[in-house]
Point group: C2
Chain length 690, copies 2
């Protein structure tokens, strides 16, 4: 590291990047005290701070070991009015990443302990033209510069854009509209186009504000945070550093790539019949995902699940026999669980009796209203409750033959819940990580990792190392930028830039409300996009009868079969990408700038992406469009469907249904595989736009 | 005053009310430093603070003169971390009101001057069940307790309720939807049900937050504020104290009450024809108000005015002869002016040449976009510009024979404007006061006060003492609670509780946008409400052709004639009320609690009011309703139309069109006058609901 002190100015740099730039009137650090109110309505939060005090630490003294041009560690003593003093030790870890640890200071003369400061502000120097990415899974914006991002695990929202009528309706009905920053999976981490990652180790609410022209302003609530910064020469190097610290996802079971995962419901016979219909139409199927394996209920929101995590023998008779039979046909069976317990079920009674439930202030089990009914939550801070829940998963799900499940929710811990260990306000953001860990350990301790998979929508720092797969949550079944098909691309890209590289979405979206219903065209375009991700999975949506489904007509079935065949054809390449993610933290779905670093143009491209190093995907994201213009990076690109070769720059390609704009690099080692895609799939007969 | 010091606690009380309650962890005062961004779009503001420092002044020392139970003045020395110290001198003025003046303190050891603190927070102790009123003209809520009110002069907004579709549309199109607190006329003053007024002398942005259960939290931006608190035994006494300090409105010209003021447009002949039609139908007319006397333009928003403040001889040929002719018939002629100048006009050229215009940072005249066209602003901080503007009003308007005018706008001073004297950020809220003063002095210095009247929508502290009449601005032409007919009642009541007691509204509302058009029934109900205020004035709205007008059909004309007759019949009573307002600050339109102080029920009643001491008005504010239930205070009340007598409590009365629920006190000295109303008006022939 380099250290420069000049009058009241202090600069700390590492590998040529200025990481700290302090001056008295623009202090690196401020501390404060505040108390927040959190108002939760069905997973949507209104958060407000009452700030009692804010102290700018205007004076910064630096004590370094080593030469000023090559210091190995720096002690920064930051002080402000009245002798408020905080120490920050800046050092390098074994990977050469910078670690900043805040601690009490012997010099402190304020009489206020460091623990009393529960508001922290850090200025991170920024540069003109700099772009920033990450902050977890961001659905609206890939490049976060110019905007402010509160980071709090929550429902994603319905519409997510205060200028759309759908958001207005959702806000008016339930305060559920969300906004550009609301997400199931925030993370206090960003990657700068200056080629460094910046991560705050905290579990409190935080705000990453990238609007200021000369500094990123980071606000953190709770106990003293620590900060990590990893500098490298390339984005790939930065991600490798970030994931070396945060952990990486393991490789996926081999069967995962063998076709689509059909989201089906309705009982053994219904599932079997729909499965047959799909396979007869040529759909490659790897798995059936039946979320109602444990029963269902009808609510005003739609058809919902029972949430008592046992096989429903009435709805799924002979499931124990059907599962091995399907398995013999090469089809896995997947189920569903979440971190709630239905209060009508026997598991709730058992957990309640054993004291395994999160409680309210009156000491009773905390009943949280989800969409339209209340449910209780297992207290994931209680080791006995966790052990009980893991055994439940192993006994009721793995032993039954489930090869995986959706591990839903994780966003709803109320900040006033009373827990076995710890304060809910500080644990709220960690809850999805605890929930991921339960699932991971249930699988791993049973020796099934690499064979059984679970997928989650909620997440936070460190949940990436437990989860085996993320899905994008509940998109609207529409074309909207902030909550429809287009939003699944920035969500995958930003999560990848946060160190979590395995991601997919519900084909066709989920949320079916008001006038929003899934159209045939939307389903088909979404399937095309999904074919060029790691995983194709359908969801019927919350109101299946209002939505177009994969078997809506013969044309849809044919198109879906074709996309499933394309996807399966890519298996060796996808496996290679998943291995890269597992070994180096390189996400499967990547922003184009990851491999074309010197062109700022790509920082703002979020309607196209790289599937690994060699495939560029520019899906059709608009209705009634059968051609797409796209800029290609400087390279030789071959159009997947026509074989036409391009050498970068603006191109326009036909994009009828069944032929989403996809290009592969001429120099790819997988060139033959990509060429084979054209021959392995049957030619589309008749699609819209032809 | 009483002073109690107990450990770290300090209490200052006056006449039995605790005005200051300090303890270390809930300090009376905090100071801070911040810099704000103000984003203005067509008079709608987005305001955001960047807070650099906040210092709670946790220690409070008191030095008193006199005995602790009867001190005449107290010096409070408030100090916080690092020796930050502010002095506050608490004393009584000649009326016995408490004055708190903040000043630099010799004890200050911080090295930061008092002037550097531009953020101030004051805690005002509150009581359970306490209600608060005022904060200027509040359209959504009469009782402000439980809500937070930013106070900044601005457009009122279209819809003003984020849950209504109309607000959503306005927000989406122009960011113009507003919210429950947006108002043309805020004022940092409230009246508590504890019977005191609390006023902050400041011109900066402020926030009055009444949500906390044990304190009102007041945040003030800018130079050190001073505070005044007037305690009395009754609400009337409190208002008398408040208006003794703030100033009161003069009595109105005698002709004002002689009928409706017809808002007409279109030229001399059109106005004359419509006037004849009204009078032939029996409408009592006091004045014609022709806002287009100075010309007009057609914009996407509707028909708008030219804004070059001279008689338009093309549109109004022979106006100089028509005015005295109308006058002979007992009809005054009123015009229109605002604080902008059309950039197409000769007055703009003249003001520009003389340097009388507010400038932008480049030194050019600041062009502000209003609805759809830009205009310049006369610099009201320049004494020469003010003198020029006053002469303009006298020469072009009074000399022409105008008996009054709408003095429009006052909300649009951009915070980055460069002015002759002072900073725009600090003058923004004062702008309407400066604008009111120009109009007042133009009239008064010409010797026409009491004969010529002007009416304004924008206001702030101290504009009440200059303005001769307030109107409620631009309501939507609908029934909505926050921006339609119902909103004009809380607006009059809250303004009255802020010390400004003369108020009326556009009959039928103004804003005609999207699908919102004025219906016949709305016009009629609005006219009924207006008949029981100080002044009846119509406005055609911004899209006259989309709105129902007073002469829309014979039934409307008949109903309107009837209401004008009722209004004129009330003239002696209204004159008495205006005199009371002028002498004691008792508003003409009063909340019911003003005379029924011991029943908290009335604190939240904003759909009915007292017109002076003796008349209770409960207008019909909903569509298709012909009966109204209303609670009456304990008193003997006589129903105006039926003569039926009630003795308080819940009553239900028929309320067909033409007979809005109105009651008078049996013991009123004006009883005979009220009885005469029944006979002077012709009986309605056929109205809706009969």
């Amino acid at each position: 590291m380099h250290l420069r002190v000049n009058g009241d100015q202090v600069v700390v740099a590492h590998r040529g990047r200025v990481l700290i730039r302090h001056q008295a009137d623009k202090p690196w650090l401020c501390v404060g005290r505040g108390s927040a109110t959190y108002d939760m309505h069905k997973g949507n939060f209104t958060i407000e701070d009452s700030l009692a005090e804010k102290v700018p630490l205007s004076k910064l003294e630096a004590y370094a070991e080593g030469l000023s041009d090559e210091v190995t560690s720096v002690r920064l003593v930051a002080s402000g009015r009245g002798g408020v003093t905080v120490c920050a030790d800046v050092s390098l870890d074994r990977h050469g990443d910078v670690v900043v640890v805040f601690s009490p200071c012997p010099q402190d003369a304020s009489g206020t302990s460091v623990e009393a400061w529960n508001r922290w502000w850090i200025r991170v120097p920024s540069e003109p033209g700099e772009a920033v990415f990450g902050c977890g899974e961001q659905f609206s914006h890939l490049n976060l510069r110019g905007r402010r991002f509160p980071l709090w695990v929550s429902e994603q929202g319905v519409g997510r854009n205060k200028k759309t009528y759908e958001t207005f309706l959702a806000d008016t009905h339930e305060g559920a509209g969300g906004d550009y920053y609301t997400t199931y999976f925030p993370q206090p981490t960003f990657v700068s186009s200056q080629k460094y990652y910046f991560h705050v180790e905290t579990s409190g609410y935080s705000v990453f504000d990238f609007r200021d022209k000369d500094a990123h302003q980071i606000e953190i609530w709770g106990a003293p945070p620590s900060v990590r910064i990893g500098v490298d020469e390339t984005f790939a190097g930065v991600l490798e550093r970030l994931t070396a610290y945060m952990g990486r996802q393991p490789e996926l079971p081999e069967w995962v790539y063998d076709g689509v995962w059909l989201g089906l419901q309705g009982g053994t016979d219904v599932v079997d019949a729909k499965l047959r219909r799909a396979r007869n139409a040529g759909v490659q199927v790897a798995a059936v995902w039946a979320q109602d394996w444990q029963g269902k209920r009808i609510t005003p929101f739609g058809k919902q699940l029972m949430w008592n995590w046992r096989w429903d023998r009435n709805l799924y008779p002979n499931l124990d026999k059907a599962i091995p039979e399907w398995r013999r046909q090469g089809i896995r069976f997947l189920g569903y669980i979440n971190c709630f317990l239905a209060i009508e079920g026997d598991l709730y009674e058992e957990a309640k009796k054993k004291g395994y439930l999160a409680r309210n202030r009156e000491g009773h089990p905390y009943h949280v209203v989800i969409t339209s009914f209340p449910a209780a939550m297992v207290d994931l801070t209680n080791p006995n409750a966790v052990a009980w829940l893991k055994r439940l998963i192993q006994r009721e799900m793995i032993d039954l033959g489930l090869s995986g499940w959706m591990a839903d929710f994780g966003e709803y811990l109320p900040t006033d819940a009373v827990l076995y260990n710890g304060r809910a306000e500080e644990l709220h953001n960690q809850w999805p990580t605890l929930w991921a860990r339960v699932n991971r350990e249930a699988v791993e301790e049973y020796g099934r990792l690499g064979r059984v998979i679970f997928f989650m929508r909620a997440g936070y720092s460190h949940s990436g190392k437990y989860t085996t797969m993320v899905w994008a949550g509940d998109q609207n079944v529409d074309w909207s930028r902030d909550d429809g098909l287009p939003s699944v691309i920035p969500s995958a890209l930003s999560l990848g830039m946060s160190g979590v590289g395995l991601h997919h979405s519900d084909i066709g979206g989920y949320t079916t409300l008001f006038h929003i219903k899934r159209s045939k065209e939307l389903f088909m375009r979404w399937a095309e996009q999904a074919a060029f991700t790691v995983l194709m999975r359908t969801h019927e949506g919350n109101r299946p009868d209002d939505n177009w489904q994969f078997d809506g007509d013969e044309e849809t079935l044919r198109h879906f079969a074709r996309m499933s065949q394309v996807h399966v054809a890519l298996k060796p390449y996808l496996q290679h990408l998943v291995r890269e993610n597992s070994q180096r933290g390189m996400p499967v779905v990547r922003p184009i700038f990851l491999h074309y670093e010197n062109e700022p143009y790509w920082y703002d491209v979020q309607d196209a992406y790289l599937l690994g190093r060699d495939v560029l995907v520019a899906p059709v994201l608009q209705e009634q469009v059968v051609e797409r213009k796209i800029r290609l990076p400087q390279d030789e690109w071959i159009h997947l469907w026509s074989g036409h070769s391009y050498h970068g720059g603006e191109v326009a390609v036909a994009a009828p249904l069944g032929e989403p704009p996809v290009f592969y690099r001429a120099s790819s080692p997988y060139k033959e595989l990509f060429e084979s895609v054209r021959s392995v799939v049957s030619h589309p007969k008749k699609f819209l736009g032809r």
